[in-house]
Symmetry: C2
Subunit: 767 residues, 2 copies
């Protein structure tokens, strides 16, 4: 026998236990590896990313959806997609853009009176407190239609959209200042500010960019346009931004990519934009003292352009608000170090990444030591005097993120399709790893905050080509998870993105997120206020005023109240529905066929459908969420009476009739079911169920359901007394259905306790 | 030392190799398990689902998105989401509902002149040949707005939407007949047929359902409404359908859940629908001889209702088209066995699943042995005489799928939150496994076809509750992957569904799908024809006729031709763009800010943006897909001239000017870059690159790019001859950019060859 070292032996001991002796799975790991052609490295990668059934991910990522106009939420390391949040694009599963409440949010994003039914989302930003992610809010920009959206992480819903009145598009947003006082939105392609027209021959004179600082009111959870301002900048095609922090707090940085100010025209024989915009060796980084700009704004020195306060270039230059520094050409990413002392910029058409020193920049500014002024009178600092290092990281470097380890960073390298790990203090490359293919941005855990968490990196590759099962000419994007915990980077997982073209992602430690699972009953979730249309069970009603009909209804397992709505052809109808459920995940939907009505009403929420009933007919409505065993029966009829028609006065004819025997049989079933419920209750209460918050919630819900049974039971008994066997039988059935709902939850709770090792604490009393 | 059996030793040998000695990852599996708190069973599950970087899944699943209105595509066993296909809901990433071509598809789905911007998708169906999935088409229904959509699996795009002119909603579709002759669409909530009005007091007399058989023309890839027909059925609230096959070919089955014909009205004191619709012990299965119905239709015996041919109930009853059989109450799922000899029906409110025998049913029909007639004169067969078995599978059984092993099936059990594996020939339960929570449908690989593939099962759970990182009140759905290859079922993976509420899924062996990666240049992908607006490079133009402007443009890395478009305020503008790329995954996007213009143009596609330029101003446009290193420079300007304004006559002023030295420097760079290209080409051609189809494609693309460099090079040289250093420099830059694109692809090809073990076949010639 071969000699084995003690260390190998201990590994052998561990590995030995991998062959399972249980009856559950006869497979050994080795058999699975052989059958699925997995290498040992594959198995380790699988084990590093797999989150077992019911488990949680350590980090939660928020990705822009690109032109899908949404935000994508996923878990790390499992790379499981958790949610698409509707932001700029209507999304029916969430009812987003379908209920009147969310339509009001989307309406804030109208431009020139036009609905914009999508957005080109690029850069999400998490709210920060003292430069550290606090898990409260998420902000995201729309590049094509210059807008910023606010998402509340209490419920993962979009609450506000603001339109930039200066710009026609943007790119360098959303980035937040260290205490989320401001959300930065930087322009991209120059236009005349304020939506004016000017011919292209006036490009240098009349076209401009602007860096906007949107004031955020954290308590209200809303941007305040009236307290926001912008700094005018030259037509240099601004690109990405970042806020200074710690050492550089109060400043922000925005780079540019066509400081040549070139205007193409290939159709008329001019060289195209791509040639004219990448000719010079350097572009210009904008260095902005936003705190000084804020002061000028507060002093009333800004001028108003299309309603927005703007610090003009000349004032900015004169007052020490705006500076420029040459940077590598066509850069993408201007990334401030956790201590705020360095700014790393990569030029896509330069193989070097440049490390700027904030100390040096600040020194030059303080000493007013300018190399020159640009054509607009803005002081330009000397590049060499501002630089700490230039480091060769590969062809086409793009974006840099910070590691937990000081001085260590990761840069995405587009042309070489790789990630380069390097030390920016010493200017030394440490490692590279190939990615597939043509990486754009990359992201480390909380890697653009003051406290990067290390551990994982996500490569956002722009081409997937052959990496996944083929799905036609339009390929999914490819995000690769990379383990950065060791000295060598290791690709763990390839995730296809099934919808959207993400540009940038931010990831937060999952434990910082504390979303709610229900609303206070009657909440308009978009305003965060009690809805004026909130309705409690028992107070449902239909109110008519002229041709306007307001329906105040409720939703609960498994019926919609009212079940019949009669309106006249041509009526304007508002259906306000309040979900009466308290139970987690007990969402109800609502649709009226053919009228484009579709709501998602989570527990406690009040939502409104609004439509004109312009064609007579019979329109079934129903709950669209498979909410309960009786889900299909959660239905109703909208009767749109023809013009000149009259209200149905006839009595409803019964399709099936019931006699005393039916009632007795139903009561018998109820009695038997109650015994099942009692036994389940006995099991639960005899165990330490109070140690399981989820089960406590279930018990609460089950109790609700059983309480609901009281009413129908009484109605059944009253009808029986009156020998009305039809109603007696059906109300007894309804009593039974509440029992079924109780049992459903009870059985789920019991199974949960059994599966999670609940302990017997008291012996259930014998019946 | 303890004795070990030879088998254990061999496992030890295998396990030993799990501790990696390489420098890449110092971790051992044991360390990872400890750090991540994984059990041995977890690691086996991980290994059974993990697909390594660049690997492929064995099966591809197509899931309905529920009220998201889309189809979700994912891989099995990795459970990675591959694509959301826009079907009934506009989706901007795909340009679906934004380009004129796809708007035409969505317009087919308008109802009563109204845009329906979502759908409630429930049941996808794959096309079949002889009862076996053939991978050609996918069909999906819209429950709320009765529609069927056709998706071509050549490009995963929606090609057609048909509206059912009889119904106001539906449920029992899409299901295909064994050769995809017909797509079945069954009604749900009864209404007067043909969109008429009738009061609810006429429910029994005037409300009806209908089972529609949409004729599918496989060559055209389109449904033919004029060759389609429906069978009228009573107001029994039809539920799911399935087509007979093999033994039962020519027949179809549809169940029902409110054969009580109850109409609720809780708001006026009547017991709710849920009570009245679940009172009887049985509902009614509809058994339809569709081949006989087709014959009657072809003989002209159908009557037209709102344009659709309908076989009335009396004719259907008389001609032996329609029969009824009592089935367990409130069922969901009527699932025909692979040999067509059994039909399995589960009643949600019955703990038994019922196995009907086709032989027995057919015998009763052939002998005209009817138990009774229903109130509409339809023959009702005796339940007991039709039954093969009744098997107790748990509380709330729902849907059944077939295993590869004969007689073995899996049934989803809603209230008990479990999957039950059982033998329907012998009526014996074999195994159960808990799922989380409240499972709706379930699905095995090709499990509703004539040739189920076994191996995996997916549980579509309706409640996720606590299973994933929390994301607010609206939870993701939860799909669990279950290994069914052994005697005991084993849960392998929990997948959250981030968008939509899937109802049913179908999965096909991945190797049967052969989608294309590009279109023939100039294709209107929605019609499948050459677009009348197809444009080749060099023939770009702007045509104006009155106030209508047609732009014929092209897209290629990295410019849009034209780069400047001038129109007058109020013009109606059509921008037709053709993607000139041949390279896989080289999609370009196109947006004009503020005008809600957004296209996704895959290689070869022609797509059209249509808008009215109703507000003067300067509107940048750009490519929305990060397509190349010069992606940001892929831009242009739409100039909307103010009314009364005049066309810009001034010469463009240059922001930067260039001299001979700039030109010389640029040429020097081009010469150096060409050397890099030559060395990459040398590497590639000296290896067996032709054995790698992906690399062959890349070489083709790289050759294209290098050929594109010829024109700019000549322009640069001509300008230099004329001493026009501005144009000489910029065209030389463009020449260089094509070199960069060539090098980008070449380096990717080189890396691919290196990473995939290409062999040196010839020694590159020395330069």
């Amino acid at each position: 026998m071969r000699k084995t070292s003690p260390k190998t032996l201990s590994i052998l001991g561990g590995a030995l236990s991998l062959c399972l002796a249980t009856a559950v799975a006869a497979d050994t790991l080795q058999e699975v590896m052989k059958a699925r052609n997995l290498t040992e490295q594959n198995v380790i990668a699988a084990a590093k990313t797999y989150v077992p059934s019911g488990g949680r991910d350590e980090f939660v990522a928020f990705s822009s959806g690109g032109q899908s106009g949404q935000v994508i939420v996923y878990g790390i390391p499992s790379m499981r997609l958790l949610k698409y949040i509707g932001v700029f694009t209507p999304e029916p599963w969430q009812g987003y853009g379908f209920d009147a409440e969310s339509k009001a949010v989307l309406d804030e994003g109208r431009i020139d009176g036009r609905d914009i039914t999508w957005g080109d989302t690029h850069h999400p930003a998490l709210s920060e407190t003292d430069g550290v992610y606090d898990g409260q809010f998420l902000f995201i920009n729309d590049k094509s239609n210059p807008r910023i959206a606010v998402i509340d992480l209490k419920d993962f819903e979009t609450k506000q959209i603001v339109v930039n009145p200066l710009l026609r598009n943007e790119h360098g947003g959303a980035f937040v200042t260290p205490n989320t006082d401001y959300i930065i939105e930087g322009s991209q392609y120059p236009t005349p500010l304020g939506h004016e027209f000017a011919p292209l021959s006036d490009f240098n004179e009349k076209y401009r960019g602007a860096i906007t600082y949107w004031k955020f009111n954290r308590e209200k959870g809303r941007i305040e346009p009236e307290n926001s301002f912008a700094v005018e900048v030259p037509p240099y095609s601004q690109d990405l931004s970042d806020a200074g922090k710690v050492a550089s707090d109060g400043w922000s940085f925005t780079n540019s990519f066509c400081s040549e100010r070139y205007v193409g025209g290939i159709e008329s024989g001019r060289p195209p934009f791509e040639a004219g915009c990448s000719q010079k060796d350097t572009d210009l980084m904008h260095v902005i003292n936003w705190r000084k700009a804020e002061q000028l704004f507060k002093e009333g020195k800004a001028k108003k352009v299309n309603g927005m306060a703007v610090i003009p270039i000349d004032l900015a230059a004169k007052e020490g608000v705006l500076f420029l520094i040459p940077e590598p050409k066509s850069p993408h990413g201007v990334d401030v170090s956790p201590d705020g002392k360095y700014i790393i910029v990569s030029g896509k058409l330069d193989s070097h990444t440049w490390v700027f020193s904030w100390d040096k920049i600040k020194g030059l500014i303080d000493r007013k030591e300018y190399a020159e002024k640009d054509p607009y009178g803005i002081p330009v600092l000397d590049m060499q005097k501002s630089l700490h290092k230039q480091v060769e990281v590969g062809l086409g470097p793009l974006h840099t993120q910070y590691d937990k380890t000081p001085c260590v960073v990761y840069t995405s390298v587009y042309v070489d399709s790789q990630v380069t790990k390097w030390n920016y203090c010493e200017g030394k490359v440490l490692d590279t790893v190939p990615v597939h293919y043509n990486i754009g941005h990359l992201m480390t855990m909380e890697g653009d905050s003051r406290e990067p968490q290390g551990k994982y990196l996500v490569a956002m590759n722009k081409l997937a080509i052959d990496r996944f099962n083929p799905v036609g000419p339009l390929h999914p994007q490819s995000h690769q998870l990379i383990d950065i915990s060791g000295p060598k980077m290791q690709v763990l997982y390839d995730m296809p993105v099934p919808l959207g073209e993400p540009h940038y992602v931010v990831a937060i430690r999952a434990s910082k997120l504390k979303p709610e699972v229900r609303y206070k009953i009657g909440t308009d979730s978009r305003s965060g206020e009690q809805s004026p249309y909130a309705t409690r069970a028992g107070s449902e009603r239909i109110e008519r005023s002229g041709k306007t009909v307001h329906v105040y209804g409720t939703l609960i397992r498994s019926h919609i109240t009212p079940e019949i709505i009669e309106v006249n052809e041509g009526d304007e109808v508002f259906v306000h529905l309040t979900n009466q459920e308290r139970a987690q995940d007990q969402t109800h939907g609502f649709t009226v066929g053919s009228y484009n009505v579709n709501l998602s009403v989570e527990p406690g929420k009040t939502a409104t459908a609004h439509f004109v009933a312009d064609k007579s007919g019979v329109y079934p409505y129903y709950c669209t969420e498979f909410c309960s065993a009786l889900h299909l029966e959660m239905e109703g009829y909208l009767m749109v009476l023809p013009k000149g028609g009259t209200k149905d006065q006839a009595k409803m004819k019964e399709g099936a009739t019931y006699a005393k025997a039916d009632y007795d049989k139903q009561v018998e079933q109820c009695t038997a079911t109650q015994k099942v419920i009692d036994s389940v209750v006995g099991f639960i209460t005899s165990h330490n169920y109070k140690d399981f918050p989820l089960v406590v919630g279930m018990v609460e819900d089950a109790t609700d359901q059983l309480n609901f049974a009281v009413g129908p039971k009484k109605k059944a008994e009253d009808a029986a007394t009156a020998q009305d066997w039809q109603n007696a039988t059906l109300w007894a059935q309804q009593w039974f259905l509440y029992q079924v709902k109780t049992a459903d939850i009870g059985l789920r709770a019991k199974a949960y306790l059994e599966q999670n090792g609940a302990k017997l604490v008291t012996v259930p009393a014998k019946k």
